[in-house]
């Protein structure tokens, strides 16, 4: 879903793939940049739509408006390596445990919504948007 369609909420599915998030991100990250890529949502939204959700999330949860806070909240409880991959399990677990949020009407896992916010924060910092 592209940003314009996403906002009016009436689009059909266009070619959907998130342009590589890596393109936008620095290479000096202290965390795996894939953490900022909500894998499931990238199957239905483009980057602009994900950022729109990220912006809305941060408006709803202003206390989390920090890259570090978001990273901590996303990976703190995940043990071992390949933390980004393990976030997919966390997304599913969120739905199972009711750890969900409603952002612009979308029923999302808290984890994937935070991933949207992290990408948004990251890009804002880099003045990419």
């Amino acid at each position: 879903m592209k940003r314009r369609d996403f906002i009016i909420g009436t689009a059909s599915i266009a070619a959907i793939s998130i342009p590589s998030v890596y393109f936008y991100l620095n290479h000096d990250d202290t965390y795996d940049p894939l953490i900022a890529e909500p894998q499931s949502l990238s199957l239905i939204w483009d980057t602009d739509a994900i950022i729109a959700i990220g912006v809305a999330y941060l408006r709803q949860f202003p206390d989390e408006n920090s890259e570090q806070i978001l990273v901590d909240k996303l990976v703190n409880n995940i043990l071992g390596n390949q933390k980004a991959g393990k976030l997919n399990n966390q997304v599913r677990k969120d739905f199972e445990t009711g750890n969900t949020v409603l952002i612009d009407g979308w029923m999302l896992s808290k984890t994937e919504a935070r991933q949207c916010a992290l990408l948004t924060t990251k890009l804002k910092k880099q003045h990419a948007y």
Binding site: T10, I44, G98, M107
Partner: protein, 509 residues
């Protein structure tokens, strides 16, 4: 046999063993069920064999409360009744619909689904549907590609539907007109029901037409089968002997008017294409996503389903509550059909791919029984001198909360299964918002105005559809529904009518 009541000498007396008022799905089903009994069946129809504005005008009324459709636009006043424009959606009620639910005020029928099952089988035939089979597993063997979404079966199940736009007027006219035992009188509008002195038995009916003729109808048993609104109206207007109307000692007649709320509530976006025809509306049996009894109980919600429609199409549709307003019946339907065609054309242009991945979810849900949602008599009278009706359609917080919760449950399950993500419409997002959008849609399913309850203080008819206190007066149809269930009413109202028919056969034959 067919008799035009306009051609009879004025003040004729018509007599038979059983008199059925109304030749729609309920009335015709009962009449045909009696055709081989050797008894004389009087079938009264207010209209003729086709749509006539003058007759349709008799159904006009006013409405207050939640916006509703023009009352004369949701029903048809000629032989075949409202089957003349119905969509043919059929599915039986669920077990839970008949039970007493603590969180649903005034719920609980005096009969169970089991009591109705044998008559569902007969109703299925009357409506010329397929076998009385509503299990997904049965249809998966019959039809290819009915793949179900991998959702938790403890929460969501697939409620199957069958479809046939059975136009009773076309299907059964010949059989009825050629019958020796069924005497069909057209242009015979009941304007008054006259009871004996202590109002324990109906003596006769007074019928009128626009030709200025008035006739009397006598029978051993009477059945009102003119739809939930008109049945209540006939009881209320028959107030020459009892001020509040017949069967209305406890002020229940006309109350508990229920509809099915059919509203676009959310969008479901699938993460990957999911090849299936299970949720497609293509005339073949299909499923809607329904909420299990356990989940309804746990969440204290009403029974409802979500149907899937391709978003590429649905998003172009004008809300029905908007497009089906206006006075002219034909114009309304022309506009409606045009809107459907245009939406289809726009969807084609968008080319959403061979497998749809985005759907609009439409809720279909029972309305909680509510005594304030009701039919009363208006001060205005129709051309035959009968008071018109006034509808006050009143929805409750339970209705709204249930719609929200059903969507949330499916949204969560879609997430758990990693099937997709759901987006709620604006009016469902705020948990504290109990308001209703102006275009809140209803299915034109009128139910509950003569509800069934064995306690005369809580119902108009008993478990045999007999009006409390009047031993030869019965009501057939969805007005008798105690609760309205999630499924469209026609299959159930025909089943209930055939149950009444069976009961009366035992009583008379």
């Amino acid at each position: 046999m067919h008799i035009d009541a306009r051609d009879l000498p004025n003040h004729s007396t018509i007599e038979g063993d059983i008199c059925i008022v109304g030749a729609g799905a309920a009335g015709i089903s009962i009449a045909l069920d009696w055709s081989k009994t050797g008894k004389k069946v009087i079938l009264l129809e207010g209209g003729g064999f086709k749509y006539e504005s003058q007759l349709q005008d008799l159904y006009k009324g006013e409405s207050t409360g939640q916006q509703y459709y023009p009352l004369h636009g949701t029903r048809l006043h000629y032989f075949g009744g409202t089957t003349g424009h119905w969509s043919g959606f059929c599915s039986p009620f669920d077990d839970i619909d008949f039970t007493k639910r603590d969180w649903v005020p005034d719920s609980g029928w005096p009969i169970s689904k089991e009591d109705l099952d044998p008559f569902y089988i007969k109703a299925q035939k009357a409506l010329q549907l397929g076998p009385f089979e509503y299990d997904l597993s049965y249809w998966q063997k019959e039809i290819e590609n009915l793949n179900a979404f991998p959702l938790d079966k403890k929460v969501v199940w697939n409620k199957m539907w069958q479809f046939n736009r059975a136009r009773f007027g076309n299907l059964y006219k010949e059989e009825i007109v050629n019958s020796n035992t069924i005497h069909l009188y057209t242009y015979a509008n009941v304007v008054n029901i006259l009871a004996n002195e202590n109002v324990s038995q109906v003596k006769s009916l007074e019928v009128k037409n626009h030709a200025g003729k008035t006739h009397t109808v006598k029978a051993k048993q009477f059945i009102l089968a003119s739809g939930a609104i008109q049945n209540a109206r006939m009881l209320l207007t028959s107030n020459s002997q009892v001020k509040q109307g017949l069967g209305n000692d406890n002020d229940v007649v006309g109350r508990y008017f229920m509809e099915h709320l059919e509203i676009s509530t959310s969008e479901l976006w699938l993460l990957k294409p999911f090849p299936t025809d299970l949720y497609k509306y293509n005339g073949k049996p299909r499923a809607e996503l329904a909420i299990t009894t356990e989940a309804q109980l746990e969440n204290k919600i009403l029974n409802g389903t979500l149907s899937l429609n391709p978003l590429s199409y649905s998003k172009h549709l004008t809300p029905r509550m908007e497009i089906l307003q206006g006075d002219d019946y034909k114009e309304r339907f022309e506009n409606y059909k045009k809107d459907l065609v245009e939406a289809g054309e726009k969807a084609k242009l968008e080319n959403s791919g061979s497998i749809e991945r985005a759907f609009e979810l439409d809720v279909r849900i029972e309305q909680a029984p509510n005594p304030n949602s009701r039919i009363t008599l208006s001060a205005e009278k129709d051309a035959l001198g009968v008071p018109r009706i006034s509808l006050h359609w009143d929805l409750t917080d339970l209705d709204k909360n249930s719609i929200r919760k059903i969507n949330q449950l499916v949204g969560i399950e879609a997430g758990k299964a990693n099937l997709g993500r759901m987006k709620l419409k604006d009016f469902l997002r705020d948990e504290n918002d109990n308001s209703w959008p102006a275009d809140t849609n209803a299915g034109w399913h009128h139910m509950g105005t003569t509800r069934m309850n064995n306690d005369p203080k809580k119902g108009v008819v008993n478990e045999n559809c007999q009006v409390h206190g009047i031993n030869n007066l019965h009501v057939a149809g969805s007005g008798c529904f105690t609760t309205s269930g999630a499924a469209n009413p026609t299959l159930t109202l025909v089943a209930l009518s055939l149950r009444l028919s069976d009961y009366l056969k035992e009583k008379i034959i």
